[in-house]
């Protein structure tokens, strides 16, 4: 007895399985790996968001919770993944409300946050 009639159905079932499975969570694409040499080109106190984006690309994360900061780094902070001779590192660029880079830091698997460059705003007006 031949069961060739069932073959197309099996193929359809397998294809359906693959199609439904495609709705399962997808792998997250690799985050861009920036170099510290490029980070060094950012000028704290003058580089704008557009300039930073041109140098480093789109940050993997943006945080904007700094609504009342005592030192005035109260704009956005952009995070990137990079590497140097010490290994991989998370690089953070903090902007002031005008969108000027004010502080660049890096953090690695061990050790404290390292400030790479900082240029505090000229004046500070703290209010709630």
């Amino acid at each position: 007895m031949s069961y060739r009639w069932a073959l197309p159905l099996v193929v359809i079932a397998v294809l359906c399985s693959l199609a439904l499975g495609a709705d399962a969570p997808k792998a997250v694409p690799a985050t861009k790996d920036i170099s510290m040499d490029t980070v060094a080109k950012i000028k704290v106190g003058s580089s704008t968001m557009d300039e930073v984006r041109e140098l480093l690309g789109t940050p993997w994360r943006i945080i904007n919770d700094l609504d009342c900061h005592p030192e005035g780094y109260q704009g956005e902070a952009w995070e990137y993944v990079g590497h140097d001779a010490d290994g991989s590192a998370k690089v953070t660029v903090q902007f002031d409300p005008a969108g000027i880079a004010r502080l660049i830091s890096k953090s690695q698997a061990k050790g404290p946050v390292i400030i790479l460059a900082a240029a505090p705003p000229p004046s500070h007006n703290h209010s709630h």
Binding site: Y3, D23, V28
Partner: protein, 642 residues
């Protein structure tokens, strides 16, 4: 023998083999796709009957028992100024966790939807990678199934708008069941049957008339695939924040502003726009309201003269509202906190008058007179510290003591500066006796505390407050606290890069905790809990300070960190953790815990959200704190609090 071999022979029949093959092939894919009928849960609604879901307010039973004041155990902080090494806990325990993809989070809300518990985590502005689709998305609202609090399941992310903290993000969420919301017709009731609705405020207070600062309503019946239902007056309203939605009446108190209507405020440019959202698809406007002196035509500068400007700490025009809490129809009161973190005033409002005294003339709704504004007001008070403290949250506790009515109000300010900004006040929690609404009186006073309250947190438990000469009634931080200028005091919450002080208390009228515990978020201090059964002598009873999941948390104390894969699909995977590093004075930058808001669910689990991207922690009470709830500690005092 024959009878046993026959079934096997039948199973080997080609047609049966084909059906089995089909099942084996399709079933796993169906499961992988997930979220089918279970997401559209039409089980009987299980919403609690207390606010904000219902109007039945529990009765707290206060006493005057003398209980020992407990000293919380010290939190271990690294002494090199770089962050904590591990989580710290006292009478609380971590149950579950999710990193929320590293998004900065403002508010947790956990709702029982049918037979599931769904967490709505409202995010600050920013962006991160959605683990479900690998896309970079503007922060909005994360929805998780927390039915099993040990293993939260990330269901979906509703993206928000791009922009600054005042223009982007989501921040505040409320959810009502369509089976609880009232209906004007059978057709409306039928249309809402089995549905759940999310009211969320996007943005905050940029003051801009932009399409990003909006009040949206989403149908979240299927929390894996929310759908936008409507945006309330999308082109008109800005300046959103901490709404309140009464599910059993539909009344929604929206924090908002319409720049074209000329209301006046100091600080956050916000007052209330009150709607009936019984039919979420068709919002019904009721009126605008705020502090007297904010209505159109009021003075925008000048001396403070009662009643338009009452008390020495208020300003002209009065500070914007931060958020109301309604006790619903049964108690007929709404409590409104103004000022956020400065120039604070708390107002006690007659709900019926508020909702009904502006029905005519029509102009009253959008442009009330001074008399219209004062009509619902039953009482008000300013906060210790004058202009230094603001009204952030005002949570009422209705109760009795020795058979006589005794009502209490929990009030918080909001710390706004990182690392205990010099000259700012330590922001704390205060208790007020509001039994006589016209004459509120602060209780649980601690004259030795710079915020004048027993509901405060010592600065790192190893530091004595320094009182600076000032003109205010309570203390302020001295000029020297950072590692740069005070190396002897490194092991301090004031050197954690972020804010140290209170923000908010839980707002669910959950009976087992109601009138027994105050649960407050304290930014770098984590979540703090006080026993207020004797409200005149509040005492600390528990805390939990999460570990940053940055470099200093290794080995990680919680699963699902940003360095690990999530559900086999990969998390953001950027290396050294989710926790964001904040900067204090002199650029001092550390990975910090920044516990933003706490909330409970109707099972008693406590949820906290982290402003610095660490995620959501699900906690439970243990030890002496659990005994407070269970009421089994008064007969034999425990000595195992640590």
């Amino acid at each position: 023998m024959h009878s046993r071999s026959m079934p096997l022979a039948r199973l080997l029949h080609p047609k049966i083999l084909f059906v089995l093959l089909l099942l084996i092939t399709v079933a796993p894919a169906y499961v992988m796709a997930g979220d089918h009928d279970g997401d559209r849960d039409r089980d009987r609604d299980h919403s609690p009957d207390y606010p904000p879901y219902g109007s039945h307010v529990p009765t707290a039973h206060f006493d005057h028992k003398v209980r020992p004041q407990l000293t919380p155990p010290a939190v271990t902080l690294l002494n090199d100024g770089s962050g904590r090494v591990a989580q710290s806990e006292w009478n609380m325990k971590l149950v579950g966790y999710d990193n929320l993809d590293g998004r900065s989070t403002y508010q947790p809300l956990v709702v029982r939807q049918g037979n599931r518990y769904i967490a709505y985590m409202a995010h600050h502005a920013g962006s991160a990678i959605n683990r479900l689709n690998g896309q970079l998305e503007n922060n909005g609202t994360s929805l998780l199934d927390v039915t099993d609090p040990h293993h939260p399941i990330y269901l979906s992310h509703i993206p928000g708008f791009a922009g600054s903290i005042d223009a982007g993000g989501n921040q505040m969420a409320h959810v009502c069941s369509g089976d609880v919301l009232p209906s004007n017709s059978r057709a409306e009731a039928k249309r809402k049957e089995g549905h759940y609705y999310l009211l969320r405020s996007n943005g905050n207070s940029s003051g801009l008339k932009t399409p990003t600062e909006t009040q949206q309503i989403w149908d979240v019946t299927n929390p894996s695939a929310p759908t936008l239902l409507t945006t309330i007056n999308a082109d008109l309203y800005s300046n959103t924040h901490k709404n309140w939605w009464e599910c059993d009446t539909g009344i929604a108190y929206l924090v908002a502003n319409d720049p074209t209507q000329n209301w006046v405020h100091s600080g956050s440019t916000q007052h209330l726009k009150i709607f009936n959202l019984h039919d979420p698809a068709n919002p019904e406007y009721i009126r605008d309201f705020g502090m007297v002196g904010q209505q159109p035509g009021s003075a925008t500068s000048g001396a403070c003269t009662p009643p338009a400007c009452e008390g020495p700490s208020t300003v002209i025009p009065p500070s914007g509202i931060h958020g109301p809490i309604s006790a619903g129809t049964e108690k007929n009161r709404v409590y409104m906190a103004y000022g956020v973190g400065g120039s604070g005033v708390v107002q006690i409002i007659d709900r019926n008058v508020l909702l009904n005294n502006c029905k005519s003339p029509a102009a009253c709704a959008v442009s009330p007179s001074q008399a219209d504004m004062l009509a619902p007001q039953k009482g008000w008070f300013t906060l210790p510290g004058g202009v230094l403290q603001g009204g952030h949250t005002s949570m009422p506790i209705f109760g009795e003591e020795n058979g006589r009515t005794r009502n209490i109000l929990e009030v918080t300010s909001e710390e706004g500066g990182n690392e205990c900004t010099a000259g700012s006040a330590p922001h704390a929690v205060w208790l007020y006796d509001i039994t006589d609404e016209a004459n509120p009186k602060q209780i649980s006073v601690d004259a030795n505390d710079p915020a004048n309250t027993l509901l405060d947190v010592p600065n790192g438990f190893d530091y004595t407050w320094t009182f600076a000469p000032h003109t205010f009634a309570v203390g302020v931080y001295p000029a020297s606290l950072t590692p740069t200028d005070n190396p002897a005091n490194l092991n301090s919450f004031c050197n954690e890069g972020a804010r140290f002080g209170t923000h908010a208390v839980t707002e669910l009228f959950y009976p087992p905790y109601y009138g027994k515990l105050v649960i407050a978020s304290w930014f770098t201090g984590g979540v703090r809990v006080w026993d207020i059964r004797n409200p005149d002598a509040a005492r600390p009873i528990a805390y939990f300070v999460p570990a940053p999941n940055g470099p200093y948390s290794a080995p990680y104390t919680v699963p699902n960190s940003c360095d690990e894969t999530v559900g086999g699909a990969g998390g953001p995977g950027f290396g050294p953790g989710c926790t964001f590093s904040n900067s204090g004075r002199n650029g001092h930058t550390v990975f910090n815990i920044h516990t933003n808001n706490p909330e409970v669910d109707d099972r008693g689990f406590i949820y906290i959200a982290d402003r610095s991207g660490t995620g959501m922690h699900i906690l439970k009470l243990t030890g002496a704190a659990k005994s407070v709830v269970d009421g089994d500690d008064d007969d034999h005092h425990h000595h195992h609090d640590h």
